[in-house]
Symmetry: C2
Subunit: 217 residues, 2 copies
């Protein structure tokens, strides 16, 4: 398809598409004359992902390029390719007190370790020292402990099991896509796009459950 | 207890506590002389909540006051008091394209309505027109649809059921607290503090599940 059709089908203006091409976020089309190039379904899919990253995820162009570099690195196995792309995404914002290395951080780290042990999440344990998500979890738990909420491994287990079920469903959706490239693309877009859906559902569910327990009066 | 002990036990400096007192975020202590006041456990609890709102949740002083006004409004029933406080919190950030009122928004609204119908979430349905969480969910789903991901009610049901289980567990934790005032305080602090824990657990679970399915190679 030509640029005009790519724009029409993606809903993205030709000016924006040209910008993405210049920035290397979208690979060039197959040149068919000095002024025209031909684009295919892979371009359409890539445009969706770029838009998810930049417009919805508010990721910088530099970060988006880094993420796409991992998405496109087919020298890696699926899990590594996915892991590298997800780790390159902006992390869960940490609380302002995240840099305080205090007793709360030490307690939180111990409880998170016990949590992973209880759950048998061996990958998470093996990668604990380098995973930004492990660091985010410790920071978030430290912040609860610092405020006097007695969060420990036992209290976290039910939440973690539910979030594992969420992740199982995420990957079931990802696996419906035929090619390896599409799977990785959908997983990365999902990491950005599904998060706000889950947060909104969580709050709606809290309202619903609270009215069921206490009534509206 | 005196100001010094309140500071010691809360881990918050006396200067910060005085600032919260001046701003009306913390009710004054019982005055026992021209220069000293006496504080109790309710002050300690309120300090935790203020810190969760301002330092971790990065909520403005004005918004924190609005939230606390609802928390303290014992003319309302538990669900309303909680609901009003939670609605006053900053909402899930909406994607940049949230203001585009297009076909995607109409489709998203229809699918969210079907979702709530399927789940039997009658409160969420009754409050659809005024709930900021309903609006956030429609915006997040519209954003997926706009990018060509075919999200519909059937696809959302398993996620929503899991988030309902999360909310049930949230409220089970809340109910362990004895007084009505404490319940509402813990629920509001939880809305801010538990979200980052869940996001980090979700990402860790995705890594774990992805390595289980595809191996590390």
């Amino acid at each position: 398809m030509r640029l005009a059709e790519l724009s029409e089908r993606s809903g993205i203006s030709t000016a924006t598409i040209k910008y993405y091409l210049r920035e290397g976020l979208l690979p060039p089309g197959r040149r068919i004359s000095a002024t025209t190039a031909d684009y295919d379904e892979t371009h359409l899919r890539r445009l969706r992902l770029v838009r998810a990253l930049i417009q919805v995820g508010r990721v910088s162009v530099a970060t988006a390029k880094e993420v796409l570099r991992h998405v496109d690195d087919d020298s890696l196995g699926t899990a590594m390719r996915l892991g590298a792309a997800l780790w390159a995404l902006p992390q869960v914002p940490e609380p302002d007190d995240a840099d305080e290395v205090d007793e709360a951080v030490a307690t939180a780290r111990r409880e998170v370790d016990r949590l992973l042990e209880t759950l048998g999440w061996s990958t998470a344990r093996d990668l604990a020292a380098i995973s930004p998500d492990h660091r985010s979890l410790v920071a978030a738990v430290a912040s609860l402990i610092r405020l006097g909420y007695p969060w420990d491994a036992e209290m976290m287990v039910p939440y973690a099991r539910l979030m594992h079920q969420v992740a199982v469903y995420d990957l079931d959706i990802v696996e419906k896509h035929p090619s390896e490239a599409e799977k990785v693309e959908v997983a990365v877009a999902g990491a950005i796009l599904v998060e706000p859906v889950l947060r909104a559902m969580h709050r709606l569910a809290q309202e619903e459950e609270s009215v069921r327990r206490y009534g509206l009066a």
